[in-house]
Amino acid sequence: MSNFLTLPILLPMFIGTILIFFAKKHKLQRVIAGFSALSLLGVAIYLGYIVYTDPSQIITLEIGDWPAPFGIVLVADMFATMMVILSSIVGVVCLFFAFKTIHSDREKFYFYPFYFYLLTGVNGAFLTGDMFNLFVFFEVMLISSYVLIVHGGTGYQLRESFKYVVMNMVASAFFLVALAYLYATTGTLNMADLAERVQVLEQEGILNGIAILFLFVFGAKGALFPLYFWLPKSYYGPPAAISALFGGLLTKVGIYAIIRVFTLIFVHNTEFTHTIILILAGGTMFFGVLGAVSQFDFKRILSYHIISQVGYMVMGLGVYTPLALAGAIYYIAHHIIVKSALFLFAGATQKITGTTELKKMGGLLKTHPWLGWLFFISAMSLAGIPPLSGFFSKFALILAAVQKESYYIVVVALVVGILTLFSMMKIFMYAFWGEPKISQDKVNRKEMFALLRPIIPLVVLTICLGFFAEPIFQYSLGVSEQILDPANYVNAVLGK
C-alpha cells in the first residue's frame, strides 16, 4: 500500500481545479502550470524509481481500503510507470511550447485546466487495475480532449471534431457493452481477478467475442485499421501544442490498453486473437503510410504517420514473444518522444511561414539552420536510421517476427519503413531545401530559439534513446517479461 500512487492522478486534477479560479489571469496561470507540470514530472520519475527498486517491481493501492477483487485497485508495474513518465515528459514539453504559441484569448478560456484534466485521465488510465475504472479514466481523458480539440472553435475544428466526438462516443458505448458481457461471463471487473478467472473458465466462444469487442473499442481509440479514418483530419485542426500532445499521447493510451488487456486477460486463445491483431497491425501500418505518402501538408503527413506507427506497436503484441513486446515497448517510448517533437516542429514552421502546406514552403534550412537540422535528426529517428532510437526498436520487432517465422509482417514492416523514410524526406526537401519562398520572415532569431527551447530536450532524448540502446533495451525486456507473466500482476494485486 502506498498512497504515493495516487499523486500522478491527483496532482494534475488538483492543479487543473485551482487554475479554474485564475482563468482570466494568464500570466499567473502560466507560472502555476509550468511549476506543477515540472513537479508532476518529478513525481512520475520518483514513482518509476520506487517501482523499479521494489522487490516485486509492482506496487498497488486499494482505494478506500476495500480489499482487492471488490474495490478499485491502482497498480503501478514497470510498464505503467514507464508510460506515466513518458506522458509527463510530453506534458511538460507541450505546455512550455503552448506558452509561446497559444493565443492569449484561448489561454483565458480554460485551456490550462483542461490540459491538466487530460493528463489526469491519461495517468489514471495507465495506473488503474480495474476495467470499469479504466473506462472512467478514458472518459475523463476523452472529454478533455474533446474540449481541447475544438478549443478556439474555428469552422474547420468544429466540423472535424464533431466526427471525432461521435466516433469516440460510439466506441465508449461499445466499451460499456463489452464490460457488461465481461461482467456477466466472469462476475468480476478487477483485472487481476479477470486474469485468473478467464484461464479457468471454459467458455472459449464468448470470451473470444468479448476479446474482439475490446479490440474494436481500443482500436477505435488507438486508430487501428480500419478505424483510423477520424484521426488525420481532426488532429490537423487544433494548434500545434495540442496536436503534439494528442499525437504523442492519446492514441498510445488505446494501445496501452490493448497491450495490457491482451497480455493479462485474454491470453486463453492466442492463436486466434493475436493472429487477428497481427493482421490488423499489418493493415494499419500499410494504409497509414500510404496516406502519408499521398499528402502534401506537414501536419497531415505526421498524422498519417501516427497511424502507421501504431501498427508497429501492435505488431509487437501480435508476434507475442518477449523480444517482440520489448521492441513494441521501446517503440512506444521512441514514438511518444519523436512524434511530439515533430508536431512541435510543424508548429514552429507554421509560426515562421504561416502555413503547413509543403508546396508553399522552401529553403528554411538557409534561414533557420537550427530548426532544419534538429528536424532532420527527429525525422531520421522516426524513419529508423541508425544510430537513432527508431532503428533499434524496429530492428527488435523485425527480428522477433523473423524468429517467429511471420514473414508477411516482416515484408510489410520493411516496406512501410522505406515509405516512412520517403515521406519524411519529402517534408525535408520541400520545406527545408531549395530557395526560400517566404518573402518576409515573421520570426526573428531570438523568438526562434524561444520556440526551439522546449523541443530540444525531446531531440536530445531521442538521441539518448539511440546511443544508450543497450540499457534501455534491457529495461524494455524487463518490462515485457514482467507483463508476459500475468502471475506477477495477479500475486501483487490479490496478495497471494
Binding site: I143, G153, V166, V170, A173, L176, L179
Partner: protein, 112 residues
C-alpha cells in the same frame, strides 16, 4: 423479463445505428444518446433481473440483487450526461458557424 429487455436493447441499438447514419447533425446526437441508453440497459440486464430482493445486506442474506451493475450504470449515466451536453453545444455551434446541419455539406474540401 430478460428477453423483453434484450429485445428493447436490440431496438435501441438498431434505432441509434440508423440515426447515427443519417445526414442531420442533430439526429446523430440523438443516435449517440440512444446508444448509450442501450448500453446502460445492457449492463443492468447482464447483472440479472427480477430477483426482487434488496442489495446485499449482510453476509447471511439468502438472496440479493447485485448492486454493482447499478453503481456502474450510475457512473456511466453521469458520464453520458456530460458528454451529451458537450456534444449538443458543439452541434449548435457547428450549425451556427456553418449555417447547415447537413453532414454532406460538412464534408470539407481537400485543399483546406
Amino acid at each position: 423479463m430478460e428477453i423483453l429487455i434484450a429485445l428493447l436493447i436490440g431496438v435501441l441499438f438498431s434505432v441509434s445505428t440508423y440515426l447515427i447514419l443519417t445526414k442531420s447533425l442533430f439526429r446523430v446526437v440523438l443516435g449517440t444518446v440512444l446508444m448509450s441508453h442501450g448500453a446502460h440497459l445492457l449492463i443492468l440486464t447482464m447483472g440479472g433481473l427480477g430477483v426482487g430482493s434488496a442489495p446485499l445486506l449482510g453476509e447471511g442474506a439468502s438472496s440479493y440483487t447485485d448492486p454493482l451493475p447499478q453503481a456502474l450504470i450510475l457512473t456511466a449515466i453521469v458520464i453520458s450526461f456530460g458528454m451529451t451536453a458537450l456534444l449538443l453545444v458543439m452541434t449548435y455551434r457547428t450549425y451556427k458557424v456553418h449555417q447547415t446541419d447537413d453532414l454532406d455539406k460538412l464534408r470539407g474540401r481537400l485543399d483546406e
